[in-house]
Symmetry: C2
Subunit: 798 residues, 2 copies
């Protein structure tokens, strides 16, 4: 069901054949099939070389409706965030009793609570599993090394990692291709109004949980942070629907959530719960959702998100208390503060200005570089992944093998450091097997291998080690350089493979390494602890790549619990963001663009001021309209011939006067046809007539179904009439044709529209009350530039 005009305007020469309309793919249920022929066809069609965009883009306003969701090409739809005011829904609101209102309010909060609770429990379980699997794996591997069986150690290490990667990748490839990657770009798109099919279902949730455990335990350079955000969103969506498919709970109360708006709010709660669970940062989670993920925001939602993250943090806290003193195997290291550096008193010196500025600038440059190279890698990976399941699996396994080799072999390249030189009073040195700053690995007693301390640990432990304070002598420069090099390579090659993977931790690892390197190199100027430089480096690189400021600042505050670090963190974040913005957009924007998700940017382009919506409408085919009492055959014809999701409804109440009655949704037309609510004669029905047949719940239901159903109508039925009065949204948002596209884009985005009607500025006889209809795709800069190339040489103002 594409909502766009995919027919070409008659007058315009077809310079380039656009993708043919694919009526057989209009059924959402169909595209679910992971190897859907249409999807792969679109895929194979468009991805032909590294230079080409991943998805072919038409140069007119007739945009294709394909995008890469997770790792597969799907048909995408817009979401109905607008309040549909038709007779049936209106009657529903009016007749809603106080008890029902209370039920709704109670349920909203109960859902927010459940989302937080479940996200917290799942995050704790994932943590528990990862810590224990990794711990056992490392213990055995180190024992093999200690007994001198280096090759056996490697084979064991690489073998276990391969097995873990394989389990994660197989799940992902076979059961839920959309569960690959972090899922954050898709959530961002969803909250912007783009429905991404099969993104928030039960298979995705389960694969994401198990896949995350497998992928992170396999020691690959990826985090569980992004996947946790996706898990939170999946939970929210499933709860709001009462489950999925056949197992769906048919509880009456759930009907309140049977609309895109309430679901959007709940998914926002889920996303912030996920961030909160990942970083144990409740405020950071709320702010991340606000700054990075959500498109619309309001105070009430702020409060509810906050409630969800508070629940998460209480659950995490509970797990930590329960698991204290080793009751959960290897789990339980680290309290609520993930990387506590609060023991350092920060006093600023002028001398630190230079290295700190350098950390910020480098963070911006490296972040932008990372974005650029990752972009290229992802293009390449898309070509590989498009080759089929085996290719995806092979890619994942080779990355795992590369990771194992790097992590295992590199520590042999650095010399052992005597424990006495490290100057870490009070800590055991060296340590064998368990987590600790000073891993003995291949070294004799009294010595430790600093690179092994960083590489032979979970990514979280590695971060903790590199953030550790009072340890300026612990890490050698060459070890840090090797660490940075291997994690830069791994960070680039790991992200795009077909396992659940997050971006946060790889960037934190790279950033902390370069922060410490800067501190070591400029140690003459450095007065602040080297561990804090690692924190600053991580923050700078995050900011340089993701371009967030406030939420990152709070996340780092909550990660490190050192409030005195705040001014300097803010300083570094601002520098890194400014520098990064000079080069390219943020990594999420790059990924959104790469995937072809029609995300609406908050700021219209400057040249959009020079184009009126009327001109835009003129470049599209004429809008397909319906009369308010319409013949069934006409409706069927329109539904068959066009993929549009909304049709303006016109009326002619008396001769010489025409009326824009409103907008009717395809979904509602299909409901009418499905129920055969036809009238033998052409007349306007009474309000109660429709209510006898339709409940507002029926109408709210988004049933897949498609054009097939249309052919089941008898000839007799085709001759009857449909009265659209009860189904028409009589209050669609309208703009006058002289409105500039810039203002229309702002209106479209701030009011969360799906359709925007263009009405004529003239009033008179024989003037159609509607000029055209605009949708999301028509307002995207790229599509407009395709149709109006002369606008391209204007620039964007910040």
């Amino acid at each position: 069901m594409e909502e766009e005009q995919s027919r070409r305007p008659a007058g315009e020469p077809a310079a380039e054949p656009g993708p043919a309309p694919e009526p057989e793919c209009k059924n959402e249920d169909r595209v679910e099939d992971p190897e859907d022929p249409a999807s792969t066809a679109g895929n194979g069609n468009s991805i032909s070389s590294l230079e080409q965009p991943l998805l072919k883009r038409s140069t007119t306003l007739t945009a294709s409706h394909l995008a890469i969701v997770g790792a597969k090409v799907s048909h995408i739809e817009s979401l109905d965030y607008e309040i549909i005011e038709n007779d049936l829904f209106k009657h529903d609101w009016r007749s809603r009793s106080n008890v029902e209102v209370l039920q709704y309010i109670f349920l909203k909060w109960a859902m927010a609570f459940l989302v937080g609770l479940l996200t917290g429990v799942i995050a704790s379980v994932i943590n528990l599993a990862i810590e224990n699997i990794t711990g056992l794996k490392m213990l055995h591997m180190v024992n093999l090394v200690r007994s001198g069986r280096y090759w056996a150690g490697f084979l064991y290490f690489a073998g276990v990692n391969l097995a873990l990667t394989f389990s994660a990748a197989v799940l992902c490839v076979v059961f839920a291709p959309t569960a690959a990657g972090p899922g954050i770009p898709e959530i961002k798109a969803y909250l912007n109004g783009v429905d991404t099919p099969n993104m928030f279902g039960a298979p995705q949730l389960i694969v994401k949980i198990i896949g995350s455990i497998g992928a992170v335990s396999s020691g690959m350079d990826l985090g569980k942070e992004g996947p946790l955000v996706h898990i939170g969103a999946c939970l929210a969506n499933l709860l709001s629907q009462g489950g999925e498919g056949r197992w769906r709970l048919r509880w009456r109360w759930l009907r309140y959530f049977n609309n895109d708006r309430d679901r959007r709010d709940l998914i926002t709660c889920g996303a912030s719960s996920g961030v909160c669970a990942a970083f144990r940062a409740p405020v950071g989670g709320v702010l991340f959702a606000l700054e990075e993920v959500a498109t619309w925001w309001r105070s009430a939602l702020l409060w509810r998100t906050f409630f969800s993250t508070a629940t998460v943090v209480v659950v995490l806290r509970g797990f930590i208390e329960v698991c204290r003193d080793g009751r959960c195997g290897m789990f339980g290291e680290g309290g609520l503060i993930l990387f506590d550096v609060s023991d350092v008193t920060v006093r600023y010196h002028v001398g630190d200005l230079l290295p700190v500025t350098l950390v910020g600038v480098l963070g911006g440059v490296l972040g932008a570089l990372y974005n650029h190279v990752l972009h290229q890698v992802l293009r390449l990976y898309n070509l590989i992944n498009a080759k089929g399941r085996m290719a995806k699996l092979a890619l994942a396994l080779s990355v795992s093998l590369l990771t194992s080799a790097g992590l295992y072999l590199l520590p042999f390249a650095v010399p052992c450091t005597p424990c006495s030189a490290a100057g870490a009073a009070g800590e055991t040195c060296p340590t064998v097997g368990k987590s600790g700053n000073f891993k003995q690995f291949n070294c004799p007693d009294g010595f430790y291998n600093d690179l092994a301390s960083l590489l032979h640990a979970t990514n979280t432990d590695a971060t903790r080690n590199i953030f550790s304070t009072g340890t300026s002598g612990e890490f050698r420069l060459d070890s840090l350089l090797i660490f940075l090099a291997i994690y830069s390579v791994l960070g680039l090659v790991t992200f795009g493979i077909a396992v659940p993977s997050g971006l946060f931790l790889p960037i934190i690892l790279m950033g902390s390494a370069y922060g410490r390197i800067v501190a070591l190199v400029l140690s003459n100027f450095v007065r602040i602890d080297h561990g804090l430089y690692a924190v600053l480096g991580a923050a700078a690189l995050m900011s340089g790549s993701m371009r967030m400021t406030v939420s990152l600042c709070v996340i780092f505050l909550e990660l490190t619990n050192n409030l005195l670090l705040l001014p300097i963190t803010m300083f570094v974040l601002l520098i890194a963001k400014t520098v990064g913005d000079a080069f390219n957009p943020s990594i999420y924007e790059i990924i959104l663009d790469l995937k072809g998700l029609p995300f609406l940017e908050p700021k219209p382009e400057t040249w959009m001021k020079d184009l009126a919506v009327g001109e835009l409408a003129a470049a599209k085919p004429r809008a397909v309209t319906l009369q308010v009492v319409e013949r069934v055959s006409t409706v069927v014809e329109v539904l068959r011939a066009t993929p549009h999701n909304g049709f303006p409804v016109l009326d002619r109440p008396r001769p010489g006067v025409s009326e824009l009655h409103g907008l009717v949704l395809r979904q509602h037309l299909m409901a009418v046809i499905r129920k055969r609510w036809f009238l033998p004669e052409k007349r306007r029905t009474e309000e109660w007539e429709a209510r006898e047949k339709f409940s507002s719940t029926d109408l709210a239901e988004k049933v897949g179904g498609g054009v097939d159903e249309l052919s089941q109508l008898s000839l007799e039925e085709m001759d009857m009439y449909i009265d659209l009065h009860p189904f028409t949204n009589t209050t669609p948002y309208t703009v006058v044709e002289t409105m500039s596209v810039a203002k229309a884009v702002v209106l479209f985005r701030t009011c969360a529209l799906r359709h925007m009607l263009i009405i004529p500025k003239f009033q008179g006889l024989e003037i159609s009350p509607i000029v055209g209809i605009l949708t999301r795709q028509d307002l995207r800069a790229h599509n407009i530039l395709g149709a109006f190339p002369h606008l391209a040489n204007k620039r964007k103002v910040h």
Copy 2:
């Protein structure tokens, strides 16, 4: 210049005489006079009893345009946040060069920096002054007490306080009545789109700075937090205008800021800088502005606000470094963390659940009660303040006297406590004169007066004492009860007097007292430190009164630097807000309502779904329209007869066809008349003709001026024509008459409109292209209910 229809519709019987239009007050410059006859007339008229609303409200849509700004009644206007797309402005954008764009970007950031810098410096200076004045005052007073001269001590104490209050109040009453109070509600209204005259000027800034110093040093129960927010906003406004009045800097670059949108952004920066400076909480400041103050928000603004607060915190940090070791007199106690309680490790016990929940519930109940009583007190005070300057002064001085008596005399009522019982190892006990937890006051050596420790200090020091950890035995229950009682009374009677005063600190003081009392009373259950209970109490009461969650949480985190307190703070805040919301709205909403500021709530009322904008327009007089080429005399007549700020412009391009050309602003019509850009014949001008005469800067200028100018036109000129083409905003926001008011309100608020045109749903001959025009006042629930009372029995859904 009221924008509403203040003429009554012809058909409607005048049930109650509305306030007569006051054409002589339409000039903004006029109402500046603090004792303006019109203002006091409106004032005296409407404020007649405690039961009546402060400002008389009409029961129709013809709302009065009076509101209480600061402490005086003023005419208010809406702000133009909408982008005006007329020929002149459009040409300006098109011709803007890259250099100019860069200038604009540079200036935006430079302004944000300057706002932060100046706010930081001013906050430091205020702090310095308060600490030193209070310190010297206390030192001398204590010396008198130590030498047994109790009455001399009281007279000295009360006298100095009276003098300080007098200086603050006189400044406020004579030079800037709008500088009284916190200013936060007016900032909130400004950012919502309500212009509050004389609120953000130089007199306000100066009076606020000096008045704050005087008021806080006088020991009254008020904080410098609210005033600092106002100071930040004033700075932002003055910077954006290049100063005020005659001393205004006429720098060309400043023209970019000559619009309400950019000024709004800058004032948001100013507000967050103020909060940041008050609490030394950079992230809390940003979030406060986001959650409580600002109506519109976008990512780019988040970043810029963050930059401002980062600057503030660096300045504060610098001052603290400079003032270390007593180099600034009594200033310099306390680092960047105002109330540091990070030395306590928080481990949660089930037993604490009861007292903590109790703190939350009590916080909600007491907060709501405080809101309720304060509301009544403010009504009473408005009656007193309306009596004139002397009444205002007398009120302020009596509150000062009451405060002095309470603070001085009450410590005599409690017995002395032996230092040995306090159990504060390492601290000097007792202390004389300087700040410290154990004030000796009237006690013998080896004993201290715990109530004096709390009352004989600046409010900040008192908070620090009561928050201090490891001191569960320090404060006696009776002392705390006396403290709570006196500060409850003072907190209620102080806020409304004519000095700059903030609400934060009074609430923190009350809350911390009751938190400690709960801990003392339930000490059998309490395992967490009593100082932390004081923190929780303060947070709960703040949340119960102000109903903020996320920003309060972060502010308390930044105030106390104890991240482990976060989950429990969130818990308490959520409980307190929920309980408080069950009783009444937040204190800021109450004040906004009391002041009659037409604030647009984010959520429309449910019953608004049952009303169409067309019905609303029908209840108003017909919209006054202009033709696109109009006779001067008609324009003058319209400007004289109506106070509206926007006029729909119609055209009739060919017979039988009419056109809604757009909307022209009164301000632009006045500019045309002022420049005498008249045409001898009725014709459409070429685009360059207007540009020869008008620059976009001319048009952007908001000149006071008024109807007086209109009478200076000669008869000959009156016979000429004005071509409105170049001045008409051709893209006003429109809604079809069937749109429900609920959706219209959402559109109006999210798109920050000032005027919303209603267009007919019919298209045909002889149908006017415009049905009506709606403004802010028409969309306020109270006004609509006045005109449609039958809607009142529907309820609001959260």
